[in-house]
């Protein structure tokens, strides 16, 4: 019997090989190396399915594969951790990456783009880094792959580097996420200093040690700076790591890079938003949830940031004119929901929303890509209209994705978003901060439905508003295929976790995701949702009518609000020739359109802190580099003087030999006392 877990490294390495192949030999291969990438991601996908099946068979995997630095106190290792969470994520990432590769055939190759080997190399490395991040068994390894993911996003967002926009967007994405990662790095060091290990799972893992330290009085066994209270210190560490999460998952206030990242090719956007980069942040919190559940303050911060971001980003999505911009803000908003769920103790809800969102957001981006192909790369929704009858496959799949995004029953997004809000509600009844997050999340629901369907109606309904929309370019199988697969998933994924149905009808065991993440089939002790609930700070409350009543009221409210938003969009934009209603918002429109002037604020802050940066530069260039350059120029100058004794005249060498011999003789003589 061959062990599936032996192939965990292969899942990561296959896309990495496709990166090497595309980089080294891409220009000699057909389609610029696309088939290598497709084969590699397909292989990874199949292996991931096998691994997931093995996990379902009741086993898990937590091994250190390679120690790259060992010492007395720490060991720095690479390892693989496969439990229900990472197995699920492996399947999602490889599936979306595979579909994105296939879609790229239509979006990049058929459109005659240049530099395709570079593109496919980037996709391969991107997928490989994310998979490495998913299976990482310790925080340091996770950090390294986290950074690799950031690098790949830089490479791919800046793919069209000859135009002015993409390089600057790529730089922005890199710098803003780096800003968060800086805190993450400090957090990793803090975890090492505190616990002496950064392992995620097992007896000696840092969540387990943290739990033990909190249980023991006075926090025995862990180091804290200056004898700080253990709980306080854990909160600080949690917030430091959270910095990286906020940057990568585009939460307020570090979300500004994400809308600009739309400059990248559309399949890349799909990959970034659905499965790789942005998902990395949320996944990290879920991965080390055993640690976060111990620090109520951090959880409350996560929930509040999440709820705020969900509402905040949704309002900006309302006024955007470009298809991909709307989707970008919806991504920020949806990840806000996941953070809200994590902060509210809804570990399963967050993973559920991550899963469904991965599918419907990948679908929406690929659908947008299909529209963009058809519109010859014009993304302005006001130039579209009436595409429904001209590209039905794209329309119906896009519609499925939009219904899921808006949270309309029974599409995938409804189930997951409802569960997120339900968790926030039942736990928030006793926690004011959480309740604030819940209210904001709830307010974002109609806004989400409104901007989603504004987008759908403007793009697909009504009369064509330009000649381009009148006669769109047809798309081929390689676009329709991935759309169909994802469209189906956007409809059915919600059924893996129908908690409301279970609670209301009293059916047992149809909440498969709950059971999956609760190690019901297999997993690693201490990494189950039950365990997280046990150590978490929250207790559930309920509204009128007990649990069933709360479920029904929660679902009815969120569905009703979503339908209200949809209805408003229908009234305003589902007409033959819709007008811009945003002008009615007056001054608010400008504020929303300019993203609350947050970009300007960040630039302003950057200018205010110029002197600090200048000082650091002077220190770096003058002191640090000065010492290094000084040492080298001294030896350079000394060398150029001393080398002059090499005259090339053999007689002089002989004379020097003789002089040296005489000097030695004199030295030995003096020491030996000959001359005394």
């Amino acid at each position: 019997m061959v062990d599936a877990f032996a192939y965990v490294p292969a899942v990561v390495l296959l896309p990495f090989f496709s990166f090497l192949v595309a980089l080294g030999a891409g220009k000699y291969l057909p389609k610029g190396g696309a088939f290598g990438g497709i084969a590699a991601t397909a292989g990874s996908f199949l292996l991931s399915l096998w691994i997931a099946a093995t996990v379902a068979g009741g086993r898990a995997y937590n091994e250190t594969l390679y120690t790259w630095a060992g010492g007395d106190q720490f060991e720095l290792t690479f390892g693989a951790l496969v439990d229900p969470l990472s197995a699920l994520m492996l399947v999602i990432v490889t599936l979306v990456a595979l579909l994105v590769h296939v879609f790229s055939l239509g979006y990049m190759n058929d459109e005659g783009e240049t530099g395709l080997p570079r593109y496919y190399a980037g996709l391969g490395l991107f997928t490989a880094s994310m998979l490495g991040f998913v299976v990482a068994d310790n925080l340091l390894m996770a950090f390294m792959f986290f950074e690799l993911v950031g690098l790949c996003s830089y490479l791919l967002i800046g793919f069209h580097f000859r135009e002015p926009g993409p390089p600057s967007a790529a730089k922005k994405a890199f710098l803003v996420t780096r800003f968060g990662d800086y805190f993450f790095l400090v957090g990793v060091v803090a975890v090492f200093a505190t616990f002496g290990t950064a392992a995620f799972a097992g007896e000696g893992s840092f969540p387990a040690l943290a739990e033990a330290a909190l249980a023991a009085d006075g926090g025995a066994g862990v180091w804290t700076p200056g004898g700080l209270d253990v709980g306080t210190w854990f909160t600080v560490v949690g917030l430091l790591v959270l910095g990286g999460v906020v940057g990568k998952s585009a939460q307020f206030p570090l979300h500004t890079w994400l809308p600009d990242a739309m400059e990248g090719p559309t399949p890349v956007s799909a990959l970034i938003h659905a499965a790789t980069m942005v998902a990395a942040g949320v996944y990290l919190v879920a991965r080390m949830y055993g640690f976060y559940a111990l620090t109520p303050t951090t959880l409350a911060v996560i929930a509040f940031i999440g709820g705020f971001t969900a509402l905040f980003a949704a309002t900006m999505g309302v006024v955007k004119d470009e298809l991909k911009q709307v989707l970008a803000y919806s991504t920020i908003s949806q990840y806000g929901y996941m953070m809200l769920a994590l902060g509210a103790g809804g570990y399963v809800a967050a993973v559920f929303h991550l899963t469904t969102h991965a599918f419907f957001k990948a679908l929406l981006f690929l659908g947008a890509g299909s529209v963009i192909i058809a519109m010859h790369h014009n993304e302005d929704m006001w130039d579209m209209g009436g595409l429904r009858s001209r590209m039905p496959v794209t329309y119906y799949t896009f519609l499925a994705g939009s219904l899921a995004l808006a949270g309309i029953f029974p599409f995938a997004g409804f189930w997951s978003k409802d569960e997120v809000l339900y968790e926030a509600l039942v736990h928030g009844l006793n926690e004011p901060l959480l309740l604030g997050g819940y209210v904001m999340g709830l307010l974002a629901v109609p806004v989400t439905a409104f901007y989603t369907f504004r987008m759908v109606f403007l793009t697909f309904h009504g009369e064509p508003r330009t000649d381009l929309a009148e006669d769109p370019e047809p798309v081929r199988w390689n676009v329709k295929g991935p759309l169909t697969v994802l469209g189906t998933l956007a409809v059915v994924t919600g059924f893996i976790n129908m908690v409301p149905v279970q609670k209301v009808l009293g059916l047992e065991g149809i909440d498969y995701l709950h059971r999956w993440l609760d190690n019901e089939w297999g997993g690693i002790a201490g990494l189950s949702s039950h365990h997280y609930a046990d150590i978490g700070p929250y207790s559930s409350g309920s509204l009128v009518g007990g649990e069933v009543g709360t479920v029904l009221v929660g679902a009815a409210v969120s569905l009703g609000l979503a339908l209200a938003g949809l209805g408003l969009a229908w009234r305003l934009y589902n007409v033959a020739s819709p007008a811009e209603h945003t002008a009615k918002l007056g001054g608010i429109k400008d504020v929303l359109y300019n993203n609350y002037y947050l970009d300007e604020l960040q630039v302003w802050i950057a200018y205010r802190t110029e002197d600090v940066a200048g000082g650091a530069d002077v220190f770096d260039q003058g002191i640090i580099d000065g010492v290094v350059n000084g040492v080298s120029s001294v030896s350079l100058a000394g060398g150029s003087r001393v080398r002059r004794i090499q005259t090339g005249l053999v007689s002089q060498y002989a004379a020097m030999l003789t002089l040296g011999l005489i000097a030695l003789l004199v030295l030995v003589g003096v020491n030996g006392g000959w001359f005394l």
Binding site: R643, R644, Q646, T647, G648, L649, V650, S651, A654, A655, T658
Partner: protein, 106 residues
């Protein structure tokens, strides 16, 4: 013959060897002709040989003479290589003056 040689005190042999060695060294330091170099080196080696043989005689031990034979063989080999170098020198520079080729300086 051997009795005569043995009757001479060893200091004289050493003085003779030091004199021959100094002549060789003087040749190397002052001459610029490569052939003189070769001959001067030969003188210095033979100065060493004189010492070997003299001490061999003085101690009644044949090891020193054996080493003298080794040195003679070594000198022959050295001359073969030295002549080769001089030939190349002549081919490249047209003469065998060692002050002319200074390409190996800094």
């Amino acid at each position: 013959m051997a009795a005569v040689a043995a009757s001479i005190p060893p200091q004289w042999y050493l003085l003779l060897a030091a004199g021959v060695f100094s002549i060789g060294l003087f040749g190397i330091l002052t001459r610029s002709d490569a052939l003189y170099f070769l001959m001067s080196v030969e003188l210095m080696m033979n100065a060493a040989n004189i010492n070997f043989v003299a001490f061999s005689l003085y101690y009644g031990d044949l090891t020193g003479q054996v080493f003298a034979l080794f040195v003679i063989a070594l000198a022959a080999a050295e001359v073969a290589i030295g002549i080769g170098i001089i030939l190349v020198l002549y081919r490249n520079f047209g003469n065998i003056d060692v002050t002319v080729p200074t390409e190996m300086r800094w």
